[in-house]
Point group: C2
C-alpha cells in the first residue's frame, strides 16, 4: 500500500510567500500522515486569476527557483514524490507548468497543453506528451486542470502505463443542478475507471478576484469511485488514501474484459471524419 495525499490550498494571487508556506505546511502534514506521494494544486506560487501577461511574468519563476527548490528539499527530507503546479519562466516564456520532484531532485516538468480561457493570453501551451515517470512508488503521470477534460490525453498516459495520475488544478466553480456535484468530479472518475488507474486531484479553495472554486480535491480508485473526497467545501484540506498502486497494472474489468485490450483503434480512426 502507498499512502497518497492531495492538498487543497487557499492560494492568493501575487502572495508567493504565503502560497509557498501553505504548500510546505500541507506537504509536512501529509508526510507526517505517512504519505509517499503528495499532489499540490495548479499555479501554487502565483495564484490563478492573473490580470494579464505582465503580472504572470512578474510572478513566474524558473524551475530552479524558490518554489520547486523548496518542494525538492521537502521531498528529500521526507522521502516523498511531490507533484505541483507553478507559474514558470523558461527561455523567456511563461508556462502553466507542473513539476515532479523526489528524494533525488527534479524528475520532470510538464507544461499544460490545453489552456483555459484567459490563460491563452498569459501562457505558452505545452507541446510535449504528459509525462509518465517511473518513481520509487510506481509510475506517476502528470496533468493540469483542463487537460483532464480530454479523454485522449488521459488515455495517452494510461496506455503508457501510469499507475496514478496526479492532477494539479484550479477548477473554477460553475452552476451545478440541485442534488448533483460538479461534472468535473465525473471526469476524474471516468479517467480512473476507463484506464483502471488511480487519479489524485489537488484543487484549491478561497475565492480570488471574484472567482470561486469547485474545491473538488479527491483521490479516485481504479474502479472510478472516491477513496478520499471530493471535499466540495471551500476550505483547505489534506486528504490521504491508501492505494495499492500495483492494482493499476491489472487492466481487467471483468472475467474476460480489459479496458485497454478491448479498444479498437482501427475503428476509432475510421470514425474521425467530420461531417458537414
Amino acid at each position: 500500500m502507498t499512502r497518497v495525499a492531495v492538498a487543497q490550498l487557499a492560494l492568493q494571487v501575487g502572495r508567493a510567500e504565503e502560497n509557498r508556506a501553505a504548500a510546505s505546511a500541507a506537504v509536512v502534514e501529509a508526510a507526517a500522515a505517512g504519505a509517499r506521494l503528495v499532489v499540490l494544486p495548479e499555479l501554487v506560487n502565483s495564484g490563478y486569476v492573473l490580470s494579464g501577461p505582465a503580472e504572470a511574468r512578474a510572478l513566474a519563476e524558473p524551475v530552479d527557483g524558490r518554489t520547486v527548490s523548496e518542494w525538492a528539499r521537502l521531498a528529500r527530507a521526507h522521502d516523498l514524490v511531490i507533484v505541483g503546479g507553478f507559474c514558470e519562466l523558461a527561455g523567456g516564456r511563461v508556462g502553466n507548468s507542473q513539476a515532479m520532484v523526489d528524494a533525488g531532485g527534479l524528475r520532470a516538468v510538464y507544461r499544460k497543453v490545453h489552456l483555459w480561457d484567459a490563460e491563452q493570453d498569459v501562457f505558452v501551451p505545452g507541446e510535449d506528451p504528459a509525462p509518465v515517470v517511473d518513481t520509487v512508488i510506481g509510475r506517476v503521470a502528470m496533468m493540469v486542470c483542463y487537460d483532464l477534460e480530454f479523454p485522449e490525453w488521459v488515455r495517452s498516459v494510461g496506455l503508457r502505463g501510469a499507475d496514478v495520475l496526479a492532477v494539479s488544478t484550479n477548477w473554477p466553480a460553475s452552476p451545478v443542478p440541485q442534488g448533483e456535484r460538479s461534472v468535473l468530479i465525473a471526469y476524474a472518475q471516468v479517467a480512473a475507471a476507463s484506464n483502471r488507474m488511480f487519479v489524485a486531484v489537488a484543487d484549491r479553495c478561497s475565492a480570488e478576484r471574484g472567482v470561486g472554486w469547485v474545491s473538488g480535491s479527491s483521490i479516485m480508485g481504479p474502479h472510478g469511485y472516491p477513496l478520499a473526497g471530493p471535499v466540495l467545501q471551500d476550505r483547505p484540506a489534506v486528504l490521504v488514501a491508501d492505494c495499492d498502486l500495483s492494482a493499476a497494472r491489472d487492466k481487467t474489468s471483468g472475467p474476460r474484459n480489459d479496458v485497454h485490450r478491448d479498444r479498437r483503434p482501427d475503428l476509432y480512426a475510421a470514425g474521425e471524419t467530420v461531417s458537414a
Copy 2:
C-alpha cells in the same frame, strides 16, 4: 425543443412476445407524451442473460423480423425516431445490434463493437463505425452498452456531428460505495460534456437469471448534467426531457474554449507508445 424519451423496460430472456409488447407500450406512452425520439434498451427481443450461442440463435431475428418491423410501424404511425437494441440474425451470424427507424422506415443498423464478457461467445462484434444519422429531429448517433466506456468511440460520433447519442444498454449492477451512484452514470455525463452533445440512455430493470441491473436510464444535457433520471430504481419507466438539440451544434465551453477545437490530436498520437 425536441422531446426525447428513454424507456426502461422489464425484459425477460426468451419471452420475445412480452418483451416486444413492453417496448411497444413504452413507445406509445412516449409518443402520447409528445416525444419525437424514443430510445429502447439493448437486446429487447431476446433478453440479455443468454445461456449460450444456441439460445441466442434461436431468439435472433433478421432486421426485417417482427421486432424492428413493429418499431417501424410505430415510428410511421407516430412520426418518431426510434432507436433500440435487438438480437439480430444476419448472414447466418448473430449480432448484438441496434436499429434506427423513422417514419420512412429503417435508417441504420449498428452492431456493437465492444463486447462484454460472455457476449463474446454469442455475438460477432461489429466492424463498422457507430452511425450518425441525419434525421428530421437532428443528427442521432447510436451505441450499445459497453461501447460507452470507450471515450474514443464516443468522440468519434461527437466529431461526426452527433446532436444526441442514443445508448441502448443492459448495465449489469456491480457494487457501488455508500453515497455514490454507479460510475456508469459518470460515463454518460462525461460523454455528453466532453462533446457538448445530448446523451439518452435506455437501461433495463428486473433481475434475469440472477443478474441485476443499474437501471440507470437517463437523459444528459450537453453540460453533462441529467435532464431526466437517472432512475436507479428497479422498475419500468419512461423518462422524457425537452432538448434543444441545436445547442449541440455549439461546441464552445467558455468564452474562448471549444471542446472539439481545443483538442491536440498531433500530441495524442505521440503519446500512444506503450512503455515497458
